[in-house]
Symmetry: C2
Subunit: 324 residues, 2 copies
Amino acid sequence: MIERDFPARELKLYSSARSAGSRIDFNGREFLVEEATPEIFSDLDIALFSAGGEITKTLAPQAVERGCVVIDNSSAFRMDPEVPLIIPEINPHTAADHKGLIANPNCSTAVALMGLYPLHRLFGVKRFFAATYQAVSGTGAAAIKELDKQTRDWVEGNEIVNEVYPHQIAFNVLPHVDIFLEDGYTREELKMRNESAKIMEIPDLQVSCTCVRVPVFRAHSVAINAEFEKTVDLEEARRAIAGFPGSEMVDDPENNGYPMPLDYQGKIPCGVGRLRKDSAFDNGISFWVTGDQLWKGAALNTVQIAELLHKKGLVGVRASLSGN
Amino acid sequence: MIERDFPARELKLYSSARSAGSRIDFNGREFLVEEATPEIFSDLDIALFSAGGEITKTLAPQAVERGCVVIDNSSAFRMDPEVPLIIPEINPHTAADHKGLIANPNCSTAVALMGLYPLHRLFGVKRFFAATYQAVSGTGAAAIKELDKQTRDWVEGNEIVNEVYPHQIAFNVLPHVDIFLEDGYTREELKMRNESAKIMEIPDLQVSCTCVRVPVFRAHSVAINAEFEKTVDLEEARRAIAGFPGSEMVDDPENNGYPMPLDYQGKIPCGVGRLRKDSAFDNGISFWVTGDQLWKGAALNTVQIAELLHKKGLVGVRASLSGN
């Protein structure tokens, strides 16, 4: 918020009853974390939700009822046709239709689309295949600790314990992110399919994805093979990505230049590289995109949505209508 | 060789002049490593080459000239139309046409085909997309040491040094295996395309691949989306893979069951899991395959080729013709 100079009059921090009462130092001031109850939302213009889907389902409608605009980072409402699902660089216009609730997309989808959408604008994407290389930070703080601890235990010759993941993540890869669904895909893979179609507004988009957890601390990568309506042109494609806000080209094979998670941890833009004509599509492009999903796939995108609402005057209106 | 009870009368070990003179304990006997010169091949029936492409190009024809059958693990002759490229479970019949030289396939290709070929026999593969998760062991002993050392240095807070790879491999992923070619693909990605077509004997097979190095010590994994001529049936597909020699199904999502590199290091069969109807192809199957590429992609496959030659009486014939 400070980095982006977000125009907030006041910042309030809320949590579940369990964590309430703790204090957080931020920007030279100490904040008391209070319990999130339905009543608090009467005084708030925007609430950035980053709780689980279940909490969001209960609390978000109560917030909206009280005139507070909710930007939610869970998957609870993302596919609700009444709820805009927004990446501000891609579909900011959908914010105008909000009914109090706006969803923030899945992290690997957000990273993938920062490479794919500029190409879609040029050539019209019909179908894409994706394989992800997802960092443990996508699972949360406990998973970061687990990779750290497993690595140290491995070095010290101690027994390796799995608590967060069902299998060891250090020196291993798990083709398993989120729960398995009936058709054999995981829910994470389904998000890539459904959310890509919704955000890019391509109802008949065909997507097949394999989501894989890798022993990387932070920043997701995605390998994509995309098929387009129109004849593709690599030079145009490169220019489009390089000129797209929030994306940058890192594609210098001669000097071993390509985006990698280590270079993108803590970095705001997503990096696109390995751009090439796809050898298994007539009009296809393959590429590789890396981004710190804690930024583009979560916190940054949420704040960007709040900025967008503020700029377009889409916040505070309902708050004043709510009668509080 | 011992594990498989290979019917060798004698085993001789050869190396470059630099390593010659060293001694290796094997099966309770000490072997002297001798220098590989053209002359040695006069006394040999089969030579298993695992040197670089350049050494093979010089020495292999000299061996063949002397009546020795060469099974080569480099990429030097793999795409030569005169040279059979063999995975014994897939195309053993091509051994009959050998002219003294037989090639062993690329490691990630071999692992991928152990899952794909049983499906091809049922449904006829037209096209596939692959993304790899390749272990450092594919690069060699120095790379294994590098991942080990970088990990220890990270734990101890020391500076991390890159010698084998152009970038840190610990806690990172590199979309870069082998050298880059003009079309933007790497040579490793081209091998997946060309060798798959040759081994499965599908000249017009379309393949697009992204090869990625991950911080795993041993065993490669590949995520594959494959399109087929015929309507696919998942139960038939499962049975075909489970019944295919050298492959096994590990596909129990409810119990977090899928193949992972940690479970496949040192294991002979390749594991196939995450089998599902592909959501972006009309007749497609997505799956995940893991295998210890030091086995199926290298040593094991090479010995299997030697066994095949022996069983079919395809060795020793030329040796006796050579006049030595």
